[in-house]
Symmetry: C2
Subunit: 477 residues, 2 copies
């Protein structure tokens, strides 16, 4: 009965990268565009992003943030005002040099990120301690001229949100940086069913211009790491560079302290690589645009379409994101198609089911089928969706735990990476040289210095100097 479409996608164990691209295209998340490295987010892909936006935007606003819109273009002179920042971003800027028919006197860069735009604005409007804190966010796209690109993971243009805040004290700014990391962690764990490792980035891995960068790191199905969201503490470095000052309560001019934080559509790549399988995408119910699809069986039989529509209405009324597929395709085609699209639950209803006053629900995550008495439809569907959400999280958590290993020597690191991949917990002395050596010898980079420290040794895994900092290392996307 089931005409599998899955021969159209590559086996994930044969070629994970190709499997990923196949899923992205076949599930109609993304299409390629005429400009290299630029991707189209199709309705189904964009709907996932909209769900994420709704969750985050609500949370941002609860925490007092306001949305704004900054210009797309940055004059070159403005970009150059903070030295580390321009060194980090100038090499990957796209430049507008012609406007209308005239050559521009100063070229304009399409924003790769908007710190300098916020700073330039704040230098104009911030006057007094009364104006602080400023808690801003914007939803927009940014552009980075990457050499090699991949759907969701590395676009030349990608959608994101960037929060930018300004505070009177360093403490308050640091708290904001940590608070927003927690908001990201909640999005991943509670909605995307992706367990995270939270921590601080090393000096080498931090954001251009930041004093501190924090990140949430996730482990993909292939055991590689995905940096999934970052928050930055800038101290007063940008404020000094842009001359942002305010009169404090004693009427003394002071420099405010600043943060920024961002999360992008890269997260959708993370969902795919965490939960997907050889039948395609598999979406956690809380983020799925369609949580359940109803497939009427033997639609020519009297009463079937009507009953399907009745279930559709009942579940819609129960706030399930539901759809009924009445297209002229065969049930087998529909099964494969909706599996490919990762719809968490499939509900089949045919003449026999109607006779028995039941329907059949098939879980996308396990393939398991259960009969549901129609008088318990709403509660059973809600229970199943909750259970799928939990199971996906637990499976991902197992993958993270089972593939995180301590190492005491560089040789151990190498053999773990070669044999298993995954994350490695190892002590680090704090020197840049040892971090570089880990990269050169074992091919791993520091993912973060986790907040939850473990004592996996007492000397640096590279140089053997005394060390009390545990770092999580891995191979990253």
């Amino acid at each position: 009965m089931k005409e599998k479409n899955v021969e159209q996608i590559t086996d994930m164990d044969v070629d994970f990268g190709q499997w990923f691209t196949d899923v992205v295209v076949r599930a109609e998340l993304i299409a390629y565009s005429g400009a290299k490295g630029f991707f189209i987010l199709r309705p189904y892909g964009y709907a996932i992003w909209e769900n994420m936006q709704n969750i985050l935007d609500k949370r941002f606003k609860e925490l007092g943030h306001e949305n704004v819109s900054m210009p797309l273009l940055i004059p070159e002179s403005l970009l150059q005002m903070e030295k580390d920042h321009v060194d980090g971003f100038a090499p990957e800027c796209a430049w507008v040099t012609v406007g209308g028919s005239e050559e521009l006197e100063e070229r304009l860069c399409i924003r790769p990120t908007s710190e300098v735009l916020f700073c330039d604005h704040w230098a104009q409007v911030v006057k007094s301690w009364r104006d602080l804190p400023l808690l801003y966010n914007q939803w927009c796209s940014v552009l980075r001229w990457e050499k090699s690109t991949r759907p969701f993971l590395r676009h030349r243009e990608f959608l994101w949100q960037e929060g930018h805040t300004l505070h009177t004290t360093a403490e308050e700014a640091l708290e904001e940086t940590e608070q927003m990391l927690e908001v990201y962690a909640e999005l991943y764990e509670d909605y995307l069913a992706m367990p995270v490792v939270k921590g601080r980035k090393t000096e080498r891995e931090k954001f251009a211009g930041a004093e501190r960068t924090y990140s949430v790191e996730c482990m993909m199905h292939d055991k590689k790491a995905l940096q999934s969201g970052t928050t930055h503490y800038f101290g007063d470095g940008f404020a000094r560079a842009f001359n942002i000052t305010y009169a404090d309560k004693e009427n003394k001019l002071s420099y405010p302290h600043q943060t920024s934080w961002g999360l992008s559509t890269r997260s959708i790549g993370g969902i795919i690589m965490t939960h997907g399988d050889n039948n395609g995408l598999s979406l956690p119910p809380r983020i799925a645009p369609i949580q359940a699809v109803i497939i009427p069986i033997a639609t020519q039989k009297p009463g079937v379409l009507e009953k399907a529509e009745e279930l559709n209405k009942r579940l819609k009324a129960a706030n399930v994101r539901i759809k009924v597929d009445t297209s002229d395709r065969s049930p087998g085609w529909k099964f494969a198609e909706h599996e490919m699209k990762g719809i968490p639950l499939r509900i089949e209803i045919g003449p026999k089911d109607i006779e028995n006053n039941q329907c059949v629900a098939a879980r996308r995550d396990t393939g398991e089928k259960v009969s549901i008495p129609l008088n318990e439809l709403e509660t059973k569907v809600e229970e199943l969706l909750e259970d799928i959400q939990k199971s996906l999280y637990n499976r991902a958590k197992e993958n993270l735990i089972n593939n995180t290993r301590p190492a005491k020597t560089l040789n151990e690191v190498k053999s773990i990476i070669n044999e298993h991949g995954g994350f490695i917990e190892a002590m680090w002395c704090g020197s840049d040289a040892c971090e570089v050596k880990m990269k050169e010898d074992a091919g791993v980079t520091s993912r973060c210095i986790p907040f939850e420290q473990k004592q996996v040794g007492d000397v640096c895994v590279v140089c053997k100097a005394p060390a009390d900092t545990m770092v999580v290392w891995g191979v990253a996307y």
Copy 2:
């Protein structure tokens, strides 16, 4: 008691343009940015846009539309595929010529509108009648290299939504074009309290590449016209240029029919110029980010702040967008500030009010003050907000009716425009020459051919040839 801040803005009867700019800046809707012609939407301005987005996005989705995200950049060769379209837009494109450190082989234009991107995508994905209709929308910014710019009315970059749809038949596409114009009209009339004239654009005024353009036209307080939203019917012109074909039910290759429609932040300029006065902005309650502000009076007196907070909670629970201003400014400063920001209702609560178990509500639109018994707080506030919404609409409707005049001769047109301004209803033979002459001799352009036709004569106002089409003419922003 009231320390007026209004001396800071220009009198609208002295210099309407300067008054507008003053309001935009003083009400903190917009700030100027470092790049000429690019504006910053500050939190208060952006919040109005967000409210509009929510209203429209919900309506679009109810009507079956899906959101997508298309790339920011268009390769020059792609832009050139539809001749009228490129002629219309190429002169105001901004061009990216450098990416990273390399000169690009083909320059890329920042989208001035996205028709060609949608067409290029659809040429790849549309195969069968089963794929149609495609009802897409995107929320984004577009860029047009305008020579002179003004906040909200003419930006080099502006935020908008652009709908793009593809249909099997011309009839269905035309229906879509008319339906979406109706959606825009509803937004203006029901939420922004702005009456509209709905109609079709003349050949001269239609969109580059369209077969038909419809628009909603509003009259501002200074009696000039604001084109406030447009919808376009393309026939199959773009489909042929981009070779978009589908197999119909008889398996014959056919060209689909296309529409697009857009509404931008320009609408916020319309709100300001329709409802504002010499005290600043005045917002219709249904679109106001803050519908009512509570000002505690004599905050040092025991119980005042607590009572203000209690009212705040009650109104929040009644779904009023409410805020209490407990800042250390004087009540007079607060009154002027919240008037400037156009908050529809101010609620004052002081010790005497508490004694009398009442509060005082002041309407932004009329300045009228009424006492409200605290046990009727929620219903009275809701009634007042509804009444303000209606009054603002009625006042704007009166302005439109009182300043729309019929004319039978070109001399009459000239004298009406010189003496009164406003809209002129006059018959038109349909020739481009007569339309040009109206512009050259009387300085008016055709705003639209209204759906609601009136017989204001039977010959063309210019050439005296027989004419059965009434056009609304005016001076436009």
